[in-house]
C-alpha cells in the first residue's frame, strides 16, 4: 500500500461532500430538516423540563407541596404533645403552624416549621452538605429557634411587616422565600399567633418506617391527607394535564421529526448511489465507503442538532413567559420566567438528532452495503412506489394495529403512549397505499389524455413523496389530536367549573365555633349560606368521602349530573336516595337504582355526577340525613351565595373579621379565572408548536418535491416535446402537490380525531382515572385544513417555479443523454 489511508479518506470524503457543494439547496434542506426536528423535540423538552422543574421548585419550596399532611378532624386540637407521641411511636412527621399576621392593612402569611425533624423527612440529607455555600444568608439554627428568633422573608414581605410587633423577631432577607410569607420556627410561630401548644398540621415522610403503629391507635383525631387528592379548585389536576399535553406533543414531534430525518437522510444516500458505486469501482473498499458516509452523516447530525438546540432554546424561551405565568397563576408563587440550560435536554436534543439520523441512515447504509457494484440500470428505486413496497408497508401497519390492543393491555401511561405511537405509525404507513388506491381509482375514471397522464404521473411520484406526505399527515394529525384534546379539556372543564362552583364563595372554618360565628356573621350579609358537611367513609371498599348538602336551587339548577332519576333532588332532601360521583359509579359498577352501603344503612342511588380531578369515590346526601348519620362530623365548610359583584368585598370582609388564611376562602370567579388562564396559555404554547410541526412537514415536502423535480425530467421531457408548455406543466405540478396535500389532510382528520380519542379516553383515563367527553371543533379542522393547503403551496411553489423557468436545453438533454 503506497498511499496514506488518511489522504485517501480525505479524497473520498471530498467526493462525497462535493455533492452538497453542487446542490447547496439540498444540503440546506437536509440540515434544516434535521435542525427543525431537533428544535421541535428539544424545544418541547425544554419547556417540559422547565415546567417540571418549576412545579417542583414551587411545590418543594418548603417540602410542603409534596408531603402528605396530618390534620386534626374538625374542632379538635393538634398539639406539640401529639407530635411527640407520633414521633415516639416511630412516625416520621414534622410540625407546621400556619396563620396570618396583620400589620395595618397588610396581611402576611406566617409559616412555622421545625427544621430539624423536617430535614429528616427526606432521605439522603447529606446531599445538601454544601448548604453553607448555597444561596441565602448564613443560616444559624440557634438564632432561628431561640426567642425572639429569626424570620425568613423576601425584602417585599419584610417591608410589609415594617413596624409590626413581632416580639423582637429578627427578619432575615431571603430572596428565595415564598412571596408574602414569613418563615419562623414552629415555637416562635405558636408564640406570635398566641396558639399555645397548638399546631396546624404535621407533614409526614412519604414512606414511614415499617412497624410504626397505625394512626388511629396513637392519634385517632388526626387524618392523613394525600397531597394528590384535590379539592374542587385544586390546580394539581390541571398542571398534570398540562404536562400530559406537553408530553404527548413531545412524542408526536419526535415521530414527525423521525420522518423528516428519514426522508432527508434517505435522499442523501439515494442521490449518491451512483457516486458510491463509482468510488467502489475505482477501488475504495466497501467498509471505507460506509464508514465515511456514516461519519459525514454524524457530522451533519451534530451540526444540525446543535443548531436545532439553539433554535429550540429560542423557541422555548419565547414560550416560557407563558408557562411561567401559568405557574404563578397556579401557585401564586413567582417562578423564574427565564430558561435554564439543562444538560438533560441539550443531550436529549443531540441524542435525538443522532439517533434519528442513525435510524434513518441505517437503512441507507445497509442498502449501500448490499448494493451490487454493477447497477443494471440507473433506475432510482427511491422514487418508485413499488407495489411490493406498498404491500410491505400495509403489512407493517397491520402488525402495528395488532400490537395496539397489546399495548393497551399492558396498561398504564406507558402502554397508552405506546398504543398512541403504534396507531400513528400504522396510519402513516398505510397513507401511501390509500393514496395509491385513490389514484388507481381515478385512473380508471380519467377521460382526457392529459388527465390520464397526470394521474399516472402522480401515482409514480407517490413513492418519492410518500415520506414527506406521511410527515405532513402526522403533523396535521398531531395538531388535530392535541388541539381537540386541549379544546375538549377546556370546554368540559369550564362547564364543570360553572356547575360545580355555582356558589360565589366557599368558606372553610378552622373550628366549629368559628364556623358558627362565620355563619352568624354571614346571615345578614349573604343571600344564602349552604352548609356542606362531610365525613370520611369506606365506599365500595375504598376510602372516600360523604357530603351532606342543603336543598337549594344552587344544586338543583347547576349540579353536573351525568345520569339522574326523576325527582332526584326531592328524594335527596328527604333522605331517600343519594348521588354518587362518576369515579365511584365506574369503579364499583353502580348505576341508578342500585343500593350503596353507607354508614347507618344502605340507600338507593338517584344520580351520578362528574367529578373531574378527584381520584376517590364520593357520595352526596341530604343535609338532614347526613346529620343523623354523622352527628360528630365537623361543621366547617359552607358555600355562600351573594350577588357576584359583592363577592369580592364579602370575601375580604370575612378574611378580615375572622383572620382567615387565604386558602380558607375560595372566590369562585377567581378560581375560574385561574383555570381558564391555564388553558389560554396552553393554547398559546400548543399553537406555537403547531406552526413548527407544520414547518417541519413543509420542509419535508419541499425536499421531496425538489428531488423529484431532478429525477422527473425524463418523464416530463416527452410530454413537453409533445406540445404541453412548461407553464402548464408547472401549474399541473403545483396542482398535483395541492391535491396530494388535500388528500393527506383529509386522511389526517380521522387519524387526528382518533389520536384525540386516545388521548382523552385512554391516556387521560390511565393518568387521572376519568374520561373526557370529546369536543370536535369544526373551526379547528377548517383552520388546519387551510394550514395544510398553505403548507403544500409554500412547499410546491419553488419546484413549480423552477419547472416553469426550465430551459429547453435542459429538457433536450434528456434526449441527448438517453443511453
Amino acid at each position: 500500500m503506497t498511499t496514506g489511508r488518511l489522504a485517501r479518506w480525505r479524497l473520498v470524503l471530498g467526493a462525497l461532500v462535493s455533492h452538497w457543494m453542487r446542490r447547496p439547496l439540498q444540503l440546506a434542506m437536509l440540515l434544516a430538516g434535521l435542525m427543525l426536528a431537533t428544535a421541535l423535540w428539544s424545544g418541547v423538552q425544554a419547556v417540559n423540563a422547565e415546567a417540571r422543574a418549576s412545579y417542583a421548585t414551587a411545590a418543594d419550596r418548603l417540602g410542603t407541596g409534596a408531603l402528605p399532611r396530618l390534620e386534626p378532624a374538625g374542632g379538635q386540637a393538634l398539639t406539640t404533645a401529639d407530635f411527640v407521641a407520633l414521633r415516639r411511636a416511630g412516625w416520621q412527621v414534622s410540625p407546621v403552624v400556619e396563620g396570618r399576621l396583620r400589620n395595618g392593612t397588610a396581611r402576611v402569611s406566617l409559616l412555622g416549621i421545625e427544621p430539624v425533624t423536617r430535614l429528616g423527612l427526606t432521605p439522603a440529607a447529606n446531599d445538601g452538605g454544601d448548604a453553607s455555600a448555597g444561596p441565602g444568608p448564613q443560616a444559624d439554627l440557634g438564632a432561628f429557634i431561640t426567642p425572639p428568633g429569626q424570620g425568613y422573608a423576601t425584602a417585599a414581605t419584610a417591608r410589609a411587616l415594617d413596624g409590626a410587633d413581632l416580639r423582637g423577631l429578627a427578619i432575615v432577607i431571603d430572596a428565595d422565600a415564598p412571596p408574602n410569607t414569613l418563615i419562623v420556627d414552629v415555637g416562635i410561630a405558636q408564640g406570635l399567633l398566641g396558639m399555645g401548644e397548638n399546631l396546624t398540621a404535621l407533614v409526614a415522610a412519604t414512606a414511614q418506617p415499617p412497624g410504626a403503629p397505625p394512626l388511629d391507635r396513637i392519634a385517632p383525631h388526626l387524618t392523613l391527607s394525600d397531597p394528590q387528592a384535590g379539592s374542587a379548585a385544586d390546580p394539581a389536576a390541571l398542571t398534570d394535564s398540562f404536562h400530559l399535553n406537553l408530553t404527548a406533543f413531545a412524542l408526536l414531534s419526535f415521530i414527525v421529526g423521525l420522518f423528516i430525518t428519514q426522508s432527508a437522510v434517505g435522499l442523501a444516500f439515494e442521490q449518491r448511489g451512483g457516486v458510491l458505486r463509482t468510488l467502489r469501482a475505482l477501488g475504495v473498499p466497501r467498509a471505507e465507503v460506509l464508514a465515511l458516509m456514516a461519519a459525514e452523516l454524524a457530522v451533519a447530525a451534530l451540526v444540525a442538532g446543535a443548531a436545532g438546540i439553539v433554535l429550540g432554546w429560542a423557541m422555548a424561551a419565547a414560550l416560557m413567559p407563558g408557562v411561567a405565568a401559568t405557574l404563578s397563576g397556579l401557585y401564586g408563587a413567582d417562578v423564574a420566567g427565564s430558561l435554564q440550560l439543562r444538560p438533560g435536554w441539550v443531550l436529549s436534543g443531540l441524542g435525538m438528532a443522532l439517533a434519528g439520523t442513525a435510524l434513518a441512515g441505517a437503512r441507507g447504509l445497509i442498502q449501500t452495503a448490499r448494493m451490487p457494484l454493477l447497477a443494471a440500470g440507473m433506475a432510482a428505486p427511491w422514487a418508485q412506489a413499488t407495489a411490493r413496497g406498498l404491500r410491505l408497508q400495509v403489512i407493517a401497519a397491520g402488525v402495528l394495529v395488532l400490537a395496539l390492543p397489546l399495548c393497551l393491555a399492558v396498561g398504564g401511561l406507558v402502554g397508552g403512549f405506546a398504543a398512541l405511537a403504534c396507531g400513528l405509525l400504522a396510519a402513516a404507513l398505510v397513507l401511501p397505499a390509500v393514496l395509491d388506491a385513490v389514484l388507481r381509482l381515478a385512473a380508471t375514471r380519467a377521460r382526457g389524455v392529459l388527465t390520464g397522464w397526470f394521474v399516472a404521473d402522480t401515482r409514480q411520484q407517490l413513492g418519492g413523496l410518500s415520506l414527506a406526505l406521511m410527515a405532513l399527515m402526522l403533523a396535521l394529525a398531531a395538531n388535530i389530536g392535541v388541539g381537540t384534546m386541549v379544546g375538549s379539556f377546556r370546554s368540559t372543564f369550564t362547564g364543570w367549573l360553572d356547575q360545580r362552583l355555582s356558589a360565589e364563595l366557599y368558606v372553610t372554618a378552622r373550628t366549629e365555633d368559628e364556623g358558627r360565628a362565620i355563619r352568624d356573621w354571614l346571615a345578614t350579609r349573604a343571600d344564602a349560606i349552604l352548609p356542606i358537611w362531610n365525613a370520611e367513609a369506606s365506599l365500595a371498599g375504598q376510602p372516600g368521602r360523604i357530603y351532606g348538602v342543603a336543598d337549594d336551587p344552587t344544586y338543583r339548577d347547576n349540579w353536573p349530573l351525568l345520569a339522574a332519576a326523576p325527582g332526584l333532588w326531592d328524594s335527596l332532601a328527604e333522605g331517600r336516595a343519594v348521588l354518587v360521583n362518576e369515579q365511584l359509579s365506574r369503579r364499583a359498577g353502580l348505576d341508578i337504582g342500585d343500593r350503596i352501603d353507607l354508614p347507618g344503612g344502605a340507600l338507593p342511588i338517584a344520580g351520578v355526577y362528574s367529578d373531574y380531578g378527584n381520584p376517590s369515590p364520593q357520595v352526596m346526601m341530604g343535609l338532614d340525613d347526613f346529620g343523623h348519620r354523622f352527628p360528630d362530623a365537623p361543621r366547617l365548610y359552607q358555600a355562600v351565595r351573594v350577588a357576584p359583584d359583592r363577592a369580592g368585598a364579602l370575601a375580604a370582609g370575612l378574611a378580615d373579621r375572622f383572620d382567615l388564611p387565604a386558602s380558607a376562602i375560595v372566590d369562585q370567579s377567581q378560581a375560574k379565572r385561574v383555570s381558564l388562564q391555564i388553558f389560554e396559555r396552553t393554547f398559546a404554547v400548543t399553537a406555537a408548536l403547531n406552526v413548527l410541526t407544520l414547518a417541519v412537514a413543509g420542509i419535508a415536502l419541499l425536499t421531496g418535491l425538489l428531488t423529484l423535480a431532478s429525477i422527473r425530467l425524463p418523464q416530463l421531457a416527452p410530454v413537453w416535446a409533445a406540445g404541453i408548455p412548461r407553464r402548464r406543466l408547472a401549474r399541473l405540478d403545483l396542482l398535483r402537490t395541492l391535491l396530494l396535500a388535500v388528500a393527506t389532510g383529509a386522511f389526517a382528520v380521522p387519524v387526528g380525531l382518533g389520536l384525540a380519542w386516545m388521548l382523552l379516553a385512554v391516556v387521560n383515563v390511565e393518568a387521572f382515572g376519568w374520561r373526557l367527553p370529546m369536543d370536535v371543533s369544526v373551526p379547528l379542522l377548517a383552520r388546519l385544513g387551510a394550514a395544510s393547503v398553505l403548507t403544500a403551496l409554500a412547499a410546491g411553489a419553488l419546484p413549480a417555479l423552477r419547472l416553469a423557468r426550465i430551459t429547453p436545453g435542459q429538457l433536450l438533454r434528456v434526449f441527448a443523454d438517453e443511453r
Binding site: T3, L11, S18, R23, V275, G283, V284, P285, L374, R813
Partner: protein, 227 residues
C-alpha cells in the same frame, strides 16, 4: 505493489470462466468457459456482438464481479479468493477502468475527475495529468462539470482518469464508442502508447475493426466462449 512485479509476465489469467446472470425472467448464461491470458506490454481487443458478454468479461477481470466458476487471477491476485478489501486494493492500484457508461463523479469538475483515481492510488502526477488533458483535448474543459459535457467529452475524461495513474492493466469498454473516427484513433494511440512505454497491458472491448486491428491480438466472444 506498484507496477506489480516486473518478473510477472502474465498480467491477467483466466481459465474456464463461467458467468450466469439470475434474473426474475430466468437464468441468463453469458460466459461458458472463457480462457484468456494477457501478458505485460500486450494489447488485446475483444469483439463480439451486442449482448455477447464483453462488458461482463471485462468486469470480471476488473474484480467488479465474481465468476461462477473457473480460475481468475489478475496482477497476482487470485480473484476467486479475494475479499472486498483485496479486490478494492487491486482496482485502486492495479487497474485503470474505462466504463461503457463513463461513471464520472457528477459533483466533481473535470480536473478533479481526471486525477481522482491516481490520487486514490497515491500516484498523482500533475505534469502527467496536464499532458493527458492536452492529449485528450480536454484542456479547455477542466473547470466544467460532467453534466456540462457532451458524451464524447465525458468519455475522454473517463479515459484520462484511467490512464492518469499509469496502471499496469487498463480495461476499456468501448472507449471510442462516442468519438468520431479521428478522435477515436488519437485516443487509441494514447492507450497503446501507455502499453508500449510502460509495459502495461490493455484489454479493450470494441465494435470497431479499425481499433481492433491496432491491437496486438484480437479475440472474438461468441456463444460464451472466446475464439
Amino acid at each position: 505493489m506498484n507496477d506489480a512485479s516486473p518478473a510477472l509476465a502474465e498480467i491477467a489469467h483466466a481459465r474456464g470462466i463461467h458467468k450466469t446472470y439470475h434474473t426474475p425472467g430466468g437464468e441468463v448464461p453469458v460466459l461458458r468457459g472463457v480462457d484468456l491470458s494477457v501478458r505485460r506490454g500486450e494489447s488485446v481487443a475483444i469483439t463480439g456482438e451486442s449482448g455477447s458478454g464483453k462488458s461482463t468479461l471485462l468486469h470480471l477481470i476488473g474484480g467488479l464481479d465474481a465468476p461462477d466458476d473457473g480460475a481468475l487471477s489478475v496482477l497476482g491476485t487470485d480473484l476467486r479468493a479475494a475479499d472486498d478489501t483485496a479486490r478494492a486494493t487491486l482496482r485502486r492500484n492495479g487497474i485503470g477502468m474505462i466504463f461503457q457508461q463513463f461513471n464520472l463523479i457528477p459533483s466533481l469538475d473535470v480536473r478533479a475527475n481526471l486525477g481522482f483515481q491516481a490520487r486514490l492510488a497515491g500516484r498523482f502526477d500533475a505534469a502527467r495529468a496536464e499532458t493527458l488533458a492536452r492529449d485528450l483535448g480536454l484542456s479547455a474543459l477542466l473547470g466544467r462539470y460532467p453534466e456540462q459535457l457532451s458524451g464524447g467529452q465525458q468519455q475522454r475524461v473517463a479515459i484520462g482518469r484511467a490512464l492518469a495513474g499509469n496502471p499496469p492493466l487498463v480495461l476499456a469498454d468501448e472507449p471510442t464508442g462516442n468519438l468520431d473516427e479521428a478522435t477515436g484513433d488519437a485516443v487509441a494511440q494514447l492507450m497503446l502508447a501507455l502499453v508500449r512505454q510502460r509495459g502495461s497491458a490493455l484489454v479493450l472491448v470494441t465494435h470497431s475493426a479499425r481499433l481492433a486491428d491496432l491491437c496486438d491480438r484480437r479475440v472474438h466472444l461468441r456463444a460464451g466462449r472466446l475464439a
